[in-house]
Amino acid sequence: MMNERPLLLSARDVGRVYRLPRKSLFGPRAERHALTGVNLDVHEGDTVGIVGESGSGKSTLARILLGLDRATTGTVTYRGRPVEPGHPREQRWFRRDVQIVFQDPLSSLDPRLTVADTIAEPLVGLQVDGSHDERVREVLTAVGIDPATRDRYPHEFSGGQQQRIAIARAIAPNPDVLVADEPVSALDVSVRAQILDLLGHLVDQFHLSLVMVSHDLGVIHSLCERVIVLHQGVVAEAGPTATVFAKPTDAYTRRLLAAVPRLAE
């Protein structure tokens, strides 16, 4: 695919094999192929969805893209430099540029840190220059949380607000890429729509590239221009979301789309 915009994250032929516990004292250990031969390019300004059911390898792929897990085969690069697990200090260049939002906001926020400290902590760790106070106010406003609540603790907020705080923390270091792993799965449907709207706005406002992992095809459809469908660790289908969802060519993608309950207008 031709693309003029610079290439940010790139996975080439990525595979991940887990060795299973020994079942017998003799003989080889069994292996599970969580991912096989996955290619994915994220250019500047891209919104890419990784969709799949449980066991499809979508979370493993996200972890490898983030340098939280090591690919058994293949390579991941960010702006041409290899990404792999290592000492936090050596990854600082990467961590500033690529940030993550997790599924469950309450477990991803430290209960003992105030909102302001939660958001400022990565700024300190990543040695981001400038006034952290100012940045905290900016990003809280951007995610629709009143900056006056900056000294409160996570449990004082609703689930949707907690996810907004987690998003504020992720965008605070001014990243180029936001990886969101099931960011709305734990939320009620009305809150879910609001958070998806917010993510869409932030992508525009801060010129973010978005990689979103989800089991929910509707969520991917609402926010991602491109999609890859994972099935048993292999890319079943990839392409523009509108095309893949309207005219799926792969048998599994067709079965997946057919199983999604739809609402009449």
């Binding site: 059911e53 449980s54 709305v184 009620d188 449907v189 009305s190 879910r192 729509a193 998806l196 089991h215 929910d216 095809l217 509707g218 969520v219 459809h221 609402s222 969802f245 079965r255 997946l256 789309l257 057919a258 199983a259 999604v260 309950p261 739809r262 609402l263 009449a264 207008e265």
Partner: protein, 287 residues
């Protein structure tokens, strides 16, 4: 709403819930809820977290936490259920009223073969002999579409997939041919392809047995697939009720409109070509 009041007092209803209120101290979580279910009717309760949908269902079968105070009337097949002793209710539970829970992993006993768990209500309520109940359990495994029913019945829960475990949950609930099945988010923990299969099995079985259904869900898109009528709950109260397709086409309460708008935002656009046909075409029992 008036229609529901009128129906609830009809002595012919299978289940009539009148002014049901559940409170924890001063905190009212189910607020004067009134509705009824006729024989063979399929009713869904839709609501977000904290709407009181699950507690409404649990208070029908007397499974609310002890700290809760329950008032109002719940009449099942002409008998009043509120205030009955637990021993009397437990005779009803699993026989006339059965329940399928959200997470089959926690509702099944991990140390017991699933066949024995399906046979349990048959032995307990119908006084069936062990070997006859075991045979019936295998037949039930076949009814819920498990590919090898005899070996499935011998399995322990952890040896089965999530979809298979929920099929076992359905087999167990339908073992005694209950008049009313309460299903509380039965497919929320399942993958979407498995959800389609499990819902198809559930819909088919309750149609064959003319079992009435109370289906509780947060997912509006599932409601047309399993129910004829729907109650929309919010903060413990029913805000709107009526025919499913009528409410989806033209909601009258602002909250229902809001819920539908939010659901449509995160749903795939309707696809009439694949919709129902594809649901029906899903191969049974593969997972």
């Amino acid at each position: 709403m008036t229609e529901f009041h009128a129906r609830a007092t009809d002595p012919g209803s299978l289940l009539a819930v009148n002014d049901l209120t559940v409170a924890f101290g001063d905190n009212v979580v189910v607020d004067h809820v009134t509705f009824s279910i006729e024989r063979g009717e399929r009713l869904a309760i839709i609501g977000e977290s904290g709407s009181g949908k699950t507690l409404t269902a649990l208070s029908i079968i007397g499974l609310v936490p002890e700290a809760a105070t329950v008032s109002g009337r719940v009449t099942f097949d002409g008998q009043e259920l509120i205030g009955r002793r637990d021993r009397e209710l437990s005779k009803l539970r699993g026989e006339a009223i059965a329940m399928v829970f959200q997470n089959p992993q926690t509702s099944l006993n991990p140390l017991m073969r699933v066949g024995k768990q399906i046979a349990e209500p048959l032995r307990r309520h119908h006084g069936m002999h062990r070997s006859a109940a075991a045979k019936a359990a295998v037949q039930l495994c076949a009814r819920v579409g498990l590919p090898e029913p005899a070996s499935a019945a011998r399995a322990f829960p952890h040896q089965l997939s999530g979809g298979q475990r929920q099929r076992i949950g359905i087999a167990m609930a339908l073992a005694c041919r209950p008049a009313l099945l309460i299903a509380d988010e039965p497919t929320t923990a399942l993958d979407v392809t498995v959800q389609a299969e499990v819902l198809a099995v559930l819909a088919e079985l309750i149609a064959t047995d003319t079992t009435s259904l109370l289906f509780i869900t947060h997912d509006v898109a599932l409601v047309p697939l399993v129910a004829d009528d729907v109650l929309v709950m919010r903060n413990g109260a029913i805000v709107e009720s009526g025919d499913v397709s009528a409410i989806i086409a033209a909601p009258s309460h602002p909250y229902t409109s809001e819920l539908l708008a939010a659901a449509r935002k995160t749903a795939l656009p309707p696809d009439p070509a694949t919709d129902r046909a594809a649901m029906a075409a899903v191969p049974p029992g593969r997972r």
